[in-house]
């Protein structure tokens, strides 16, 4: 018998196509931003805002691990962002799960406030369990 064993069932024998957001572009794009194919028609060199929004990609590399930020990408909507993320960030067998998050939905700490935000806990070793000595007679520590 071949070393590759028996052929498995196809991934989705039900042969249904998932489409979470089939026509987002229809309403959003027709009035404001043009989708990609039309964008390439604009004069070369014309600096304009990217018609696709920015998404942050989080990949979970295996069961039991957390999703880790892998990078970002452009996509017209969430459904395409997931697919682009699959193509860009899991093409070398890196993941078992992907999250995409609109970059504008992320609030981040201010790099200039590093001192007031992150330096305060330094030196406060009493916040760590190892600071304390174990009392005599206490079990299961």
């Amino acid at each position: 018998m071949a070393p590759h064993g028996n052929p498995e069932e196809p991934a989705s024998a039900a042969s249904e196509i998932k489409r979470e957001a089939p026509k987002v572009a229809a309403t959003a794009a027709s009035t404001t931003a043009a989708p990609a194919p039309a964008a390439s028609v604009t004069p070369a060199g014309a600096k304009e805002e990217h018609p696709w929004s920015l998404w942050e990609v989080f990949v979970r590399s295996s069961r039991g691990l957390s999703h880790v930020h892998a990078g970002s990408l452009h996509a017209p909507d969430a459904a395409m962002a997931l697919r682009n993320a699959r193509d860009l960030y899991t093409r070398r067998n890196e993941g078992v799960s992907i999250w995409v998050v609109p970059a504008e939905a992320i609030s981040s700490s201010d790099p200039d406030s590093k001192g007031s935000f992150f330096e305060s806990p330094q030196g406060k070793d009493y916040r760590h369990a190892t600071y304390y000595t174990k009392s005599e007679g206490v079990k299961h520590l």
Partner: protein
């Protein structure tokens, strides 16, 4: 790092380094979201190994059939490869490149297997056959056109290949079944990718809608050829190696019809091309593709890097 607690000893996969060292349950902070593992799947090299050990050898009919499937994938991979660095967006550039590589992978497996019947390698078949010796259907060699034409072509190809490979997972030929079992998962994604784009181009702007309508008009004449039965498929269907292509047509029509209806696109009422690719009669585009694809191997026979 204390002990190596993963053991990847997979025969025939020794040439790719496996960089996984127990980052799993320990919650190791250095666990990367982009670490590289090759995984374990059937590769053309595995088939070549089986052939060299004399474990598999296709009959003349099966080899001829594998040649058809391999040539379909090879021509499409060559076409899609042309999009690299030219797609409308970087993300789409990589998506099309991925699909091209999937198709090339299927082609390599099928051609490796087919070649075993005649003592030829996948490279012999890809680079040193002439136009009339190729067995791909006309759809696969059609020009890329604009992005919409490429998507329309991919849409038809993916839905056809999905039905075909699904049927072939039950093939009485173990190697054909194994190649198809791997391919069907990849083609399933190609189907989803092209369907997503058909919906978006049709529902986007007036421009994008006009282009996808025109795209389907250009490639639809090559649909019938995909589902043509002939003597070879009849013999192989009797042997349980494949099914008659015509039996796949209903599912193809139904599933593509659903997407087309949702996209509010009509099936183009264009006449069907005569075909002939399975008998080595190709369109005027074929010679140019082969020239580009084969020139290096023919200029420098036996070269390697």
């Amino acid at each position: 790092m204390t002990t190596k607690d993963t053991d990847f000893a997979i025969e025939g996969h020794g040439d790719i380094s496996v960089g996984v060292h127990g980052a799993g349950a320990s919650g190791d902070g250095s666990a990367s979201a982009t670490r590289i593992t090759p995984g374990n799947a059937l590769r053309p090299e595995d088939i070549a190994l089986e052939i060299s050990r004399g474990q598999v050898k296709p009959s003349e009919d099966v080899a001829e059939f594998a040649l058809r499937l391999g040539d379909d994938g090879l021509m499409l991979a060559q076409r899609l490869g042309h999009w690299i660095s030219r797609a409308p967006e970087l993300e789409e550039d990589i998506a099309l490149g991925n699909i091209a590589l999937d198709q090339l992978g299927h082609a390599r497996s099928f051609l490796t297997y087919a070649g075993a019947a005649w003592g030829k390698s996948e490279d012999d078949l890809a680079y040193f056959r002439r136009e009339h010796e190729f067995r791909s259907a006309h759809l696969f060699e059609q020009p890329n056109g604009d992005f919409a034409v490429t998507i329309a072509r991919q849409f038809i190809v993916s839905f056809y290949q999905f039905e075909l490979y699904t049927a072939l997972t039950a093939s009485t030929d173990a190697t054909i079944a194994a190649i198809s079992a791997k391919a069907v998962k990849e083609v399933d994604y190609h189907r989803d990718h092209s369907a997503q784009w058909v919906l978006r181009l049709a529902g986007g702007t007036d421009e994008s809608r006009a282009r996808i309508i025109q795209g389907f008009k250009l490639v639809w004449p090559y649909v019938d050829e995909l589902f043509e039965d002939d003597e070879l498929t009849a013999r192989l269907a009797d042997a349980g190696v494949t099914v008659q292509p015509s039996t796949l047509r209903d599912s193809f029509d139904r599933l593509t019809g659903e997407i087309m209806a949702e996209a509010e696109l009509a099936i183009p009422g264009v006449p069907q091309a005569p075909g002939g690719g399975r008998r080595g009669k190709h369109s005027e585009h074929m010679g140019y593709i082969l020239a580009e694809m084969q020139v290096l191997a023919r200029e420098h026979p036996g070269a390697s890097w």
